[in-house]
């Protein structure tokens, strides 16, 4: 977990300044972000809402270091993502960021346990992780008896809980969730949202979640509204 969060002092874990991203489609420049600035404090649970094509996913990919901005600066837990090389960005992502996707994106050939161990191995090298943290996360997400199942043997909600466990097992400074309840029924959505909240409360986990669902957004401490590549509220 980020050093800033453990002190209890409210420090920005994420700072994005005047982010711009323009895609080149054929010979045409298509702006996706038009100068977005954002600050998220350690332990915040933030929802990002807005219509399709407003730049939510682009912003999430930029914040996660999967894309580089055309202009602007991103600092995560004290490390400048935009000034980093591709290898350094990968390293920052490995140490500081956990992703949760709408389509779960678990490795289908691995069990739930295998998926978690893979994350630990990538993060720490030997795959052993912190056993205490692991037990606590699994208990919180009610996954103890699901660890030897493969994704196809789990329900959508269970798969998303495994994906969530995979994202937080390595104690990232920031969890980026891209419509995590988009593929779930309302009951499973409620369970998964509840678990996001639990993780946020119990571990002071900073979470930024893209969602179209107002109920999901309501579970967050802050809601950011986006439109046409700008933040218009929050």
């Amino acid at each position: 977990m980020a050093a800033a969060a453990t002190t209890g002092k409210k420090v920005a874990i994420l700072k994005a300044e005047k982010l711009e991203k323009t895609y080149r489609v054929g010979k045409v420049d298509v702006p996706a972000l038009r100068g977005v600035s954002l600050e998220v404090e350690a332990g915040e649970f933030v929802a990002v809402m807005g219509p399709s094509g407003c730049g939510k996913s682009t912003m999430l990919h930029l914040l996660g270091g999967l894309l580089t901005p055309t202009k602007g600066r991103i600092v995560i837990d004290g490390e400048d993502l935009t000034a980093a090389t591709d290898a350094k960005r990968t390293d920052i992502r490995r140490r500081k960021i956990g992703f949760v996707f709408q389509r779960f994106n678990l490795f289908p050939t691995l069990t739930a346990d295998g998926n978690l161990r893979l994350a630990e191995r990538i993060h720490g090298g030997n795959g052993s992780g912190d056993p205490e943290r692991r037990r606590e996360v699994l208990r919180l997400l009610r996954l103890e008896d699901k660890m030897h199942h493969k994704p196809l043997e789990l329900s959508g909600g269970e798969q998303q809980r495994v994906a969530l466990a995979r994202a937080v097992i390595t104690q990232p400074a920031l969890v980026l969730a891209d419509e995590p309840t988009g593929n779930l029924d309302s009951e499973s959505s409620a369970i998964v949202l509840n678990m996001f909240q639990e993780l946020n409360r119990r571990f002071n986990q900073t979470i930024i979640m893209i969602t179209h669902n107002p109920e999901a957004a309501a579970a967050c401490g802050r809601i950011i509204q986006m439109r046409d590549g700008h933040i218009v509220a929050g």
Partner: protein
């Protein structure tokens, strides 16, 4: 950590057909190396073993009448008498060496000898039965006898012509079947002719000096040392070494291509998984390492199957044709290295391609 719950092993198990084809591809490369080198080595060693039991030190022939795969019966047996008169010669005996299509793979050879002189000179004895006398009688060595050719049975040598097996001799020496000289002369319609005359020098004489003397006394013929004539197959066929090296290189290319194709396919299938790995912070080296580990594991399985395949094929070919296979550790090691390195090289391009995938595009891959 459950080793079967890792990306490498689970991917191999998840796509059994692709994995099996890759394993078979590597196995074929390895088996090819082992079978061809094993055959060359086996036949070479067999030839050397048999030629080492020929005690006559010098071979006297017409020029160009003997090669590895052919021989002519064009030397007059009258030379025997003249050779015996040369100083330092203890004994001389005529031999017809006839090479013919074996009916299976390759060629076979038979010798026509004057049994008493030939066996005395070379220390060969009949261990079962008796020596050949009539034109339709043959003696064979123990290796040939072991292939269901007992004394009293018959054996087909030239087309449909049947010969009675009257004896088994030991140790093995030269051709595995021997007729009387007269019998082979009659069959080949070459009366008073032979292929070469085998010469034993006196214990006190220097074979090199005797060979020089023979060359002086009977110029225009070929005087060679037995050890040179029955050299190894490798040295008898100058291109064999090159052929074997080309074969090894081809096997390496086949292994590499099979693994490359398999890994290229699997990377395309797993584009989204590569994207997930990248999102999780896996470095290029980690992704390359995972793919290389999978390729090396497939290659290792290919090696094991290839060795078993080579042993099985060698056994079956030996049983059906009599060809001898001798597998050497060095070639096995070479085949192993070729299989593993070929697999690793083959996987490198797909691995680099995977490592360089754009994570956002990879995650969006359907």
């Amino acid at each position: 950590m459950n080793v079967f719950d890792s990306l490498v092993t689970s991917n191999i198990r998840q796509r059994p057909l692709r994995s099996a084809i890759s394993v078979v591809g590597v196995a074929l490369g390895v088996a090819l190396i082992m079978i061809f080198t094993g055959l060359a080595r086996g036949m070479s060693n067999d030839l050397q073993r048999r030629s080492s039991n020929v005690r006559g030190e010098i071979i006297f022939t017409r020029k160009g009448s003997m090669s590895l795969v052919g021989s002519a019966t064009n030397l007059s047996t009258k030379y025997v008498e003249r050779l015996q008169q040369i100083e330092g010669v203890e004994a001389a005996t005529p031999v017809i060496r006839h090479i013919y299509p074996s009916g299976g793979i390759g060629v076979d050879q038979i010798e026509g000898v004057e049994w008493n002189d030939f066996s005395r000179m070379n220390g060969i004895r009949i261990i079962n039965g008796r020596s050949p006398v009539a034109n339709d009688e043959v003696v064979i060595d123990q290796t040939k006898a072991a292939r269901k050719h007992p004394v009293g049975g018959t054996i087909r040598i030239f087309g449909d012509k049947l010969y009675k097996i009257v004896g088994i001799y030991a140790p093995e020496s030269g051709a595995r079947a021997k007729l009387t000289l007269a019998s082979l002369q009659e069959t080949l319609e070459a009366p008073s002719k032979c292929t070469y005359i085998l010469i034993k020098t006196k214990p006190s004489a220097d074979p090199v000096a005797v060979a020089k003397l023979i060359d002086q006394e009977l110029p225009g013929n070929n005087v060679q040392f037995t050890r040179d004539v029955f050299a190894s197959v490798e040295s008898s066929i100058p291109s064999l070494g090159i052929f074997l090296r080309v074969l090894v290189a081809l096997a390496a290319v086949v292994s590499a291509l099979v693994v490359m194709l398999a890994m290229h396919t699997t990377i395309t299938e797993r584009t989204r998984e590569i994207g997930i790995l990248k999102a999780m912070g896996a470095s290029r080296a980690y992704i390359v390492g995972e793919i290389e580990r999978e390729a090396i594991l497939i290659s290792a399985m290919g090696l094991a199957v290839g060795f078993v395949l080579a042993l099985g094929a060698g056994f079956l070919i030996h049983k059906s044709t009599g060809l001898i296979f001798e597998y050497g550790w060095m070639w096995a090691l070479t085949a192993g290295v070729i299989g593993l390195v070929g697999g690793a090289i083959g996987a490198f391009y797909p691995a680099m391609r995977a490592a360089n995938l754009d994570p956002v595009n990879a995650l969006a891959y359907e």
